[in-house]
Symmetry: C2
Subunit: 204 residues, 2 copies
């Protein structure tokens, strides 16, 4: 399947535009954790999504948008953008770099393009259907790991698992070589780059 280059180009520009906002608010206030509203996270999340939505609507008014902050529009149309301005909000709010902006494009319900963008570190993974995944423009690939007992596994938090899933997670964690935490979306990039093997999350 060939993905139109103009979509890839727009996705890159969405990452640039949202990245400026996300960077501006990073570590901008202390005491962020105690407020429910108008924290840097909320401000950055909202502003970044607004900017991305506007860019999409100007260039492709018939494309749908599913966004964490601004809700869903035209979500049954052929092309739908899915936006998460800050995945790893708690990490972001506490000054950690383990967060990123997620941008993807669905065509007829199938994902044809995906970006993980870490705007403070200026690191970007780009996946386009039918093409090699890239990291900052260079092709990357997952590493070979034939045995579960050799695998390194990341999860965002052990607290995300409940009941039966908690037991299943514990069983898996006991079999891998290392079970690490706190990665959020960056972990998926680390898998794509061949630095770790498994991401195990709940409710995905």
């Amino acid at each position: 399947m060939h993905v139109n280059e103009t979509y890839v180009d727009l996705a890159g520009r969405l990452a640039e535009a949202s990245g400026k906002i996300v960077r501006r608010h990073f570590r901008s206030l202390s005491g962020v954790g105690e407020k429910q509203d108008s924290t840097p996270v909320t401000i950055a999340d909202k502003e970044a999504e607004i900017v991305m939505r506007e860019m999409i609507q100007v260039e492709y008014p018939d494309h749908g948008i599913v966004g964490e902050e601004g809700g869903n529009t035209l979500q049954n149309n052929e092309f739908v953008w899915v936006l998460d301005p800050i995945d790893g909000t708690k990490n972001y709010a506490s000054g950690s770099y383990q967060f990123g902006t997620l941008i993807s494009l669905l065509k007829g319900g199938t994902c044809i393009l995906g970006i993980i963008n870490q705007p403070v570190l200026k690191e970007r993974w780009l996946g386009v259907r039918g093409q090699p995944t890239t990291f900052n423009g260079d092709p990357v690939q997952a590493r070979t790991c034939d045995e579960l007992t050799h695998a390194w596994m990341y999860s965002s938090s052990p607290d995300m698992f409940r009941l039966d899933d908690k037991k299943k997670f514990a069983r898996l964690a006991s079999r891998v070589k290392h079970s690490l935490f706190g990665t959020d979306c960056i972990g998926y990039g680390l898998v794509a780059s061949g630095f770790t093997d498994i991401i195990c999350e709940d409710q995905m």
Copy 2:
């Protein structure tokens, strides 16, 4: 207590010298996780500690050194340097930025100087007894958090806690506002900078 500036200066140079080595090996090989020896972690750890030990021994041959890789020398002397070239080795080995080099100086068993250095991001926290803690040269301070229920807490991994400590940790985690993971030494810097409130680790 006044800390001799020449010790602070040496500590900074230790961070610079070790940082070059740690940076050079970061994300340098894929498949690192499957080998027990001669991984980038091991190489970086060893080389970085060797360089730091040599610098200390040349300038202060009567100072003791406690190092994770090279063992302990003159550890009963008045001044003792404590070195951990890579705290957060699993994170480092899997390409995550949640690691750092730890350098501290004890005088008569009391810590008078401490550095957390993230050499890839070029971020450095410096604590000197009797002086404000700095981040990349600028003074920082922990934020006010009067209520445990408002606190954000980081731990490296839930798996570090055993038996009674596991129960105590679960009780604490259930009372704080957010319980996050995977930070290793960087979390202590985030507390110093006022971006989070608590670090809870076992066997410290």
